[in-house]
């Protein structure tokens, strides 16, 4: 729950401007980007995701660092990814 997970935006949904399709460790999911409405997010941008919401825009280097950190955490990250994979945000 407390883990901030980096994801790469692959598509902004034009009929729902508060949602984006995001690639998170190979899992493609809808993520709410409404809290970053001033950031003008585009495909290719990286975001840090908390419980289905993008909380901050980050650069790719930071995303890689954050992923390394999470992969080092082990089980808690695996659980979070599993929960994310089952998530159906709309």
């Amino acid at each position: 729950m407390c883990l901030g997970i980096p994801g790469e935006i692959v598509e902004i949904l034009h009929d729902r401007v508060d949602l984006a399709m995001v690639n998170v460790s190979g899992v493609r999911r809808a993520i709410n980007i409404g809290l970053l409405e001033d950031e003008k997010l585009e495909p290719g941008d990286w975001i840090l995701i908390h419980v289905g919401f993008a909380l901050s825009k980050i650069d790719e280097a930071e995303a890689k660092d954050a992923l390394d950190f999470l992969e080092g955490i082990g089980q808690a990250y695996a659980d979070e990814l599993k929960a994310l994979a089952e998530s159906q945000i709309e």
């Binding site: 809290l35 909380l55 930071e62 950190f69 080092g72 808690a76």
Partner: protein
């Protein structure tokens, strides 16, 4: 020097450790508290304390939101869940937290419909697809997760969904830090400020710590090097005689936080007069409840909630651990009666709780220290 090979920047870590050691005044002890459970995890996992001089002690603060939920609130959630036609939802971390007689998992095994969700938006989806049920989201967490609960209520309102509500247990970090600063049995020299919470609230809210309590604060990232760098920044401030708020994690944390996130919290929630924190007791203005304007999404207004205060089990010393008075292994039941498989206290439940983090990673170091000193 454990895990040194795992560091991508082992040399940098050693260099920082040497710089930190050089700043220590002979004969002086330093105590820094890391407030965030994620930091506690990094510290134990990477054996950060092994890099530090003996005169520096890291105290693990109350920054794991699962760990500070009092048992009475778990009982309240289960009481709501056991009403007819209710689906109770929460994050996975919540499922094993013990109430006075049972946890969410135990309640699910009996009769209640308890579901683990990744996001409050998943709870809203369950509400959409189960119009004949009432779906409650047990909201927990600091300012990191509060905006997501707020956004979900706003979404529910926009869609006119009326079978969804929030059992709000969001807590706020600043009053907890204040309570710790006021605590007579702990003398701190500075704070390693939380990373993700600060993404939302920014750095400015910590300025009272520097101005009123004369303690430095450094908001830190989650990598081992981030933690070491932050400790170094705290030590430099102390050596210079400065007390300021500094942002080591500026690559993610903006100084002003996320304004939109703060706006949606303020729109849907307000401070409670007081709230009980496990181990810290009642702290005024330290938690959020749903605003009158969103009353239709407030589970506490919809359901009769017992609201009975439950004292912690006598054997459990989570309170002392959360205040940093005891180290996890100094608790009477640590690792014996209380383990991650059968937790008595909340600190052992969440992987970010100090006890679980230490149980999973830290004890090996202590065993090695014992071995080394046995001769």
């Amino acid at each position: 020097m454990r895990y040194v090979d795992e560091y991508r920047d082992a040399e940098k870590a050693q260099a920082l450790a040497a710089q930190i050691a050089a700043l220590c005044e002979p004969g002086r002890q330093y105590k820094f508290m890391e407030v965030c459970g994620g930091h506690t995890h990094t510290i134990y996992k990477h054996g950060i304390e092994d890099y530090l001089p003996e005169s520096i002690t890291l105290i693990h603060g109350p920054g794991c939101p699962v760990c500070v939920i009092p048992m009475g609130r778990v009982d309240d959630a289960i009481a709501i869940a056991e009403q007819p036609d209710v689906i109770m939802t929460s994050f996975g971390d919540m499922m094993r937290v013990p109430g006075s007689t049972k946890s969410f998992f135990d309640s699910k095994a009996i009769n209640a419909d308890m579901r683990m969700v990744y996001s409050p938006l998943d709870s809203l989806k369950i509400a959409r697809t189960n119009p004949d049920k009432h779906v409650v989201f047990m909201a927990i967490g600091f300012e990191t997760t509060a905006p997501s609960t707020a956004m979900t209520m706003i979404r529910a309102s926009a869609e006119g969904i009326d079978n969804f509500s929030v059992f709000c247990n969001h807590v706020t970090i600043i009053p907890a830090m204040k309570a710790i600063l006021e605590s007579p049995d702990l003398r701190l020299d500075g704070f390693i400020g939380p990373g993700h919470v600060s993404t939302v609230i920014g750095c400015q809210p910590y300025e009272f710590v520097a101005a009123e309590y004369n303690k430095p604060v450094v908001v830190a990232g989650f990598e081992p090097l981030d933690i070491l760098q932050s400790i170094y920044m705290l030590m430099v401030q102390i050596a210079d005689g400065r007390c300021e708020v500094e942002n080591q994690y500026s690559r993610v944390v903006p100084w002003d936080g996320n304004i939109k996130a703060l706006q949606v919290i303020a729109e849907t929630m307000e401070l409670r007069p007081y709230f009980e924190w496990r181990g810290l007791g009642f702290i005024s203005h330290s938690a959020l409840r749903v605003r009158e304007e969103y009353a239709r999404y407030d589970a506490e207004r919809i359901f009769a909630v017992p609201g009975v205060r439950v004292a912690d089990p006598k054997a459990c010393q989570c309170g002392e651990v959360l205040k940093g008075v005891l180290k996890p292994w100094e608790c009477k039941v640590f690792g014996t009666a209380c383990t991650p498989e059968t937790p008595i206290g909340t600190c052992m439940v969440s992987p970010e709780g100090a006890c679980a983090a230490y149980y999973n990673f830290g004890r090996f170091t202590r065993e090695r220290v014992k071995e080394a000193t046995r001769t």
